[in-house]
Symmetry: C2
Subunit: 143 residues, 2 copies
Amino acid sequence: MTTAGSGVDGALRRRAAAWPVARLGTVGADGRPHLVPCCFALDRDVAYSVVDHKPKRSTALRRLDNIRANPTVCLLVDHYEEDWSALWWVRLDGTARLLTEGPEHEGAIALLRAKYAQYRATPPSGTVVAIDVHSCRTWAAGP
Amino acid sequence: MTTAGSGVDGALRRRAAAWPVARLGTVGADGRPHLVPCCFALDRDVAYSVVDHKPKRSTALRRLDNIRANPTVCLLVDHYEEDWSALWWVRLDGTARLLTEGPEHEGAIALLRAKYAQYRATPPSGTVVAIDVHSCRTWAAGP
């Protein structure tokens, strides 16, 4: 599995990598799904996001608690517009790890700051969710 | 629980009800989360979406199989823009039922056609996912 690729799949994966927002799905110990929008950066087959400036504290904890209980996660990147022939999505399924310090945490923050001006203005320092992507599915309505 | 409401919460819920896209999270029998973007319509505390014109067949089946195995779902409506002080989300947690025919199926299609010109042009006829919403959480970065 690689998040790079050729053809339509590859083009969609590159578009998704540059997209500013994704939705992260986790599952609680009780089997309930939990979704949050998040910023993210991709480094080959690892996706990084960070619990950022103004989280709703209970939501940030819920996401992290869920990952501790069940590290299987889903990250969806998609585009909506009124012209439904322009719709597309890229779904990354993987296993999450939580990073609070160390070289990979620092590298993730650097990647996020490279992608987002908002993170350059106010560097985040919270827990990083690192997702080892096992599978990447793409779909597009049009050519 | 009601998806209507007063104050900031109520304003966000009304904004979410009119929003054209949401992301539906389900959980497989294997405990894996699965996310798809979807159109939806709200009728009080029930959210409806339909497997529409050009589904990626395996994805449509996955969503429905997951709901049969575990009806607990999460529907997230959110807004992203570069100005992070304008971010908001509304998360609906509930229990899903699958409708293939009957008055509630017809009512759901009518609601979806009232909300979406695309559905008026090409009426959907597929399985409807009806979500009985038990809890509605809202968040906004700004006032």
